[in-house]
C-alpha cells in the first residue's frame, strides 16, 4: 500500500508497527495514491 506524505510529498510505505506517520518528516497526514490499475467504466 503506497501513500504520499501531505507535507513533504514523499512516497511512504506503512508497516505494521510504525503507526500512521511519515518516516521522513514525522507528519501524520498521509494521502493514499490512486491505483495504477486500468479502470473500466460503463458509459451510462
Amino acid at each position: 500500500m503506497s501513500y504520499k506524505c501531505s507535507r513533504c510529498k514523499r512516497d511512504v510505505t506503512l508497516d505494521e508497527y510504525g503507526g500512521v506517520r511519515c518516516p521522513y518528516c514525522g507528519h501524520r497526514v498521509l494521502l493514499k495514491e490512486r491505483s495504477t490499475d486500468i479502470k473500466e467504466v460503463d458509459v451510462r
Binding site: I38, K39, V41, D42, V43, R44
Partner: protein, 248 residues
C-alpha cells in the same frame, strides 16, 4: 402511399435542412420523424478504460461526456456488434477537446473537433481508451443521429379583404415557411408577422392538407440526406417484416 408525393427543399445543408413534403399522411410524417430520432443507429462511446485520470472530475463523469461526443458513422459500414476503439492522451495545462481523440478507424472521427471534455491544470493528465458501439436512439440519447427533428403543417395564407378601419391591429404570427399565392415564403422575411406583410388587410390562414414542412438537424454523425434515407429504409424494412409475419 399509392398516390404521388413530392419533395421540395427550402434549405439544404449537410447538417441542417428544411424541406416540404406534399401528399403524405400525418401518420407517415410522424413515423419518419420518430424513426429519424430513435431508429437510425449511430456510433457513440459506450465503454471507457481509464489509464490515468488526475483531473478534478470522476472517471464516470468524463466517461459520460465522452459518450455524448458525436462520432461520424458512415452508412452500411458497421454492424450492431462492431466496436471502434478511440484513445485520448492530454497532459495539462491544456483543455482536452473531442479533437484530441485518436480513432483506430479513419471513417470514425469526432464530428466536431471543438467539444471541450475537461480543462486540465498543471500536472494533471487524462489518458484513456474508449470503445464506440453502434446503437439506436432508443437505447440511449447519445446514439440519436437526428437532433431537433420536427415538422409543421404547411399553411396557406390568403388575403380575404380589407381590415376594418378602426380595428386594433394585433400581430398575426406564423412560423417557418408559408404558402402565399402558390409561392413558398420564409416567414422570417416579414418578422413572422402577417400584419407586416399585408398591412390593413384581413388574411385567412389554413392548413394545407397532406403537406408538411420538415426541419431536420443531425448531430454530425451523418448528413441530413443519409439520415432521412436510413430512416425511411428502417420503416420500409419493418413494414416488410410485418407483412411477412402476417401473410401465411
Amino acid at each position: 402511399m399509392d398516390e404521388d408525393y413530392e419533395v421540395e427543399f427550402v434549405e439544404r445543408g449537410d447538417r441542417k435542412a428544411l424541406f416540404l413534403v406534399r401528399g403524405v399522411t400525418p401518420a407517415f410524417a410522424n413515423g419518419i420523424r420518430r424513426t429519424m430520432i430513435a431508429d437510425v443507429p449511430t456510433l457513440a462511446i459506450d465503454e471507457v478504460r481509464v489509464i490515468e485520470n488526475s483531473s478534478v472530475m470522476f472517471d464516470e463523469q468524463i466517461a459520460l461526456r465522452l459518450g455524448l461526443v458525436p462520432l461520424t458513422t458512415p452508412p452500411a459500414e458497421f454492424d450492431e456488434d462492431d466496436v471502434v476503439t478511440l484513445s485520448i492522451d492530454v497532459a495539462g495545462p491544456a483543455t482536452a477537446y473531442s479533437g484530441d481523440l485518436v480513432s483506430a478507424d479513419d471513417m470514425v472521427q469526432p464530428a466536431d473537433q471543438n467539444v471541450p471534455i475537461i480543462e486540465l491544470k498543471d500536472g494533471q493528465r487524462l489518458e484513456l481508451e474508449a470503445d464506440a458501439v453502434l446503437e439506436t436512439g432508443k437505447a440511449h440519447a447519445k446514439h440519436q443521429g437526428g437532433v431537433s427533428v420536427g415538422y409543421r403543417h404547411l399553411q396557406r395564407v390568403e388575403v380575404v379583404g380589407d381590415a376594418d378601419e378602426f380595428e386594433e391591429s394585433e400581430p398575426n404570427i406564423v412560423r417557418g415557411v408559408v404558402e402565399i399565392d402558390g409561392e413558398l415564403v420564409d416567414t422570417a422575411e416579414f418578422d413572422n408577422d402577417l400584419t407586416q406583410k399585408f398591412p390593413g388587410k384581413e388574411v385567412a390562414v389554413h392548413d394545407v392538407e397532406k403537406a408538411f414542412v420538415f426541419h431536420v438537424e443531425t448531430d454530425g454523425s451523418m448528413t441530413v440526406e443519409e439520415l432521412v434515407n436510413r430512416a425511411t429504409d428502417s420503416i420500409e424494412s419493418r413494414a416488410l417484416e410485418l407483412e411477412d409475419a402476417v401473410s401465411l
